[in-house]
Amino acid sequence: MDTKKLQKKYLPLTESAYYVLISLNKPRHGYGIMQHVNEITAGRINIGAGTMYGNLSRMEKEGLISPVAEEDRKKIYELSEKGKTVLELEISRLEELLNHGKTEMGK
């Protein structure tokens, strides 16, 4: 899939989707992602269990993440190549937003 198509289909990511994807740069399971996101955002973002499950099953179906292992009722996921590309596109989109804000506000 080319860049244009990926951008049109997936961007902008929701805040939860963004944090799920960046957390899966390392293999993690659902609850592990919830804890990690809570930690790195100092409690600002709490992803609920239902939102977590919804994101994981949608992203798996879309091939953005892939299951790498399963241990006692826990599915462990990791970012796929496609997921990595989408995440990189989103990060450059966010960088552009941030840079525009800084330039326009004279910082």
Partner: protein, 179 residues
Amino acid sequence: MVVKMKEEKTVWRMWGGWEIEKMENWLEEMEMEGWALYKFDFTMMRFKFKKSESRKARYCFDYQSNVGDDYYGIFQEDGWELVDETISPWHIWRKPYQDNRPGIFTDTRSLVERNNRQIRNITLAAIISLILLYIEWITGLSYAGIIPILLIFSLIFYAYLITRIHQHNKKLKNNAIKC
């Protein structure tokens, strides 16, 4: 209708998929009054409670027809307890809390997706009713009978449910737009 027994009580409630928040709040109030839900059935209209200690507990409704083991894993690790194991797609989760009221859906998208899962199943039921109605019509069997009338009523009912849930989704999406 409330049937009171010694340490248990049963409450019947009619509700629709667009009133989930109201139902969740009601169960939370019941738990505060010392009535903990332990069973629900009859197409989610009959709720059975056991006398228990009053406590703050959040109730959340999910609608899932087909989930894997990891679904339960994520919820349980996060401290949610499944109130009752049923074959119904409705899953009621409960979690006691102190200060911050927890929830299973923390963004609008996942709430809307849950409601869309309801719409999908109702649509499926409507299609089945339509097919049955069509079979009735081409075979001419019991055309004036009770079955076509029931099917037509169920179709009207399904259309009503879908419209209400759809309107509710629109409201959720509008509320999510902050500026």
